[in-house]
Subunit: 290 residues, 2 copies
């Protein structure tokens, strides 16, 4: 499928891509790059690539498919570094959870004839690093492509083919729409999980031991989400600031109304909401998503 | 262990207790009561009890162990109904998630010589009803007992023995402390989950289909929690109002600070929190709680 693939960053997602490329023999050669030599050493030890380069520009030389897999805040600098070394006709893609900023950060640094096809595989675990990946990570999950205006059709097709091959269902949408949808359905849940775990840690009547003891009561799921990669999530909130703040505003309004219902003992309002939210679970179960 | 056990309410928890009593032959007879005849019919069909009574007073006659398993808002009325029929020496317990209100709602209706030992098994699933229970539900989870002042030692011992037998670790604490701990570690997470699922349902740019498609990005866990029994949770928030409002206040303060950090691009603050919250997950993993 590809002659030479360059994976910039070799964490959970890119190391899963590497395993998939290897398993199905989809790339003539895989070259990886990462900021840290020890990460590269480990990835080579795991057999994820033929070659590792600290210098991202050296890694992309001659590559026909380049996947940016570093935290989204690093994209602008990486694009600037690799821009001059990109081969004409190469496809540059990424796996970030924010798409508007990816387009605006990368586009200015790409030479003519290089095609940007941003991608967001909606899949993951709370683990990170090259050891965390597995080839099946993308199966039965959605991958959203947000091609910029005038995107090369052949390049878009090729990236679509790759994600279909990975077992994903592919959706194409506008980057701004993607960012709003993800702000509410992914970024805000992470923010709430991080926040409540932080609040709990600060409460003086609770020891860490108490928290561990009673986590079954609902808290456990939040700790899993709040164990996600800190730098990756820092960048997501900074790069999807507007949409996250908008959705957080809506959430906070609704929460204030709920707080008022509790204070005034409005059981009807509580029960109405709690009944309404139950329905979506049935939809997920029907769609075999749980 | 018991001659006759009366289970008032036969949902997830009490039907799990019934199965446990049956499995290990711990009760001479099990009598159940519920507001709805169809629930009782189903429970008898499942073999959960020898006898079913719509009238709770009839169900508790001659019972030496009574477990209140209806939503906590129903306790005062149930206690008033059963009070005159309770046998001297009987132990009244419950399985509710709020303990202060349980004590103040039930105590006035108990005749002398009947012992109240409130219990909260910190275990559950998002399913409800007599079909949802299973005898192993309580294994390796904590059960918190909150005996009121002057509680009969023998009665406390007996309830402790029962929960140990169920496979739980038993903790004894003050009801007010319990309610604060649960407000932050269980009730608030549920409130946030209900609230965000509600916010998502209201967002006009998202179809239900979109939500189902992209739920993997963090939202899925929230939908599970927000599928919990609506009436049970309505009552929890109404009956643990003060502690929930206090913890919600702290949470909202922290969230406002986080919102400010996002608006002003304070990446350092975000990363610091996200790193701190990751640690608690390691504690849970070390304690084999996940």
């Amino acid at each position: 499928m590809f002659e030479r693939v360059a994976l910039l960053g070799i964490g959970l997602i890119n190391s899963s891509i590497a395993r998939l490329l290897k398993r199905d023999n989809l790339a003539g050669e895989i070259v990886i790059s990462s900021r840290r030599q020890e990460t590269l050493d480990r990835a080579i030890e795991l057999g994820l690539a033929e070659r590792a380069e600290i210098d991202a520009a050296a890694a992309v030389e001659g590559a026909d498919f380049i996947v940016l897999g570093a935290p989204v805040g690093a994209n602008a600098a990486i694009a600037e570094t690799i821009g001059p070394s990109l081969k004409p006709g190469a496809i540059v893609s990424d796996v970030g959870s924010v798409k508007g900023a990816v387009i605006s950060d990368i586009t200015p640094h790409l030479p003519d004839g290089v095609h940007l096809v941003p991608a967001h595989p909606v899949a993951g675990t709370e683990f990170s690093g090259p050891d965390a990946g597995f080839a099946e990570l993308f199966e039965n999950s959605w991958c959203i492509l947000t091609p910029p205006e005038g995107c090369d059709t052949k390049a878009l097709e090729k990236v679509t083919d790759f994600w279909c091959h990975a077992g994903s269902m592919v959706d194409v949408m506008d980057a701004a729409h993607h960012d709003k949808v993800m702000a509410i359905i992914s970024h805000l849940p992470h923010l709430l999980a991080y926040n409540i775990v932080g609040t709990v840690k600060d409460i003086e009547l609770l020891t860490d031991r108490d928290v561990v003891k009673y986590a079954a009561g609902g808290f456990r799921d939040f700790t899993r989400i709040a164990a996600s990669d800190p730098v990756m999530w820092r960048d997501i909130f900074l790069k999807n600031q507007d949409a996250v703040l908008e959705m957080l505003g809506r959430f906070s309004e609704d929460l204030a109304a709920l707080q008022r219902a509790i204070r005034w003992g409005d059981g009807e309002k509580l029960e109405e909401l709690f009944t309404r939210t139950r329905a979506i679970r049935s939809d997920l179960i029907a769609a075999k998503k749980v």
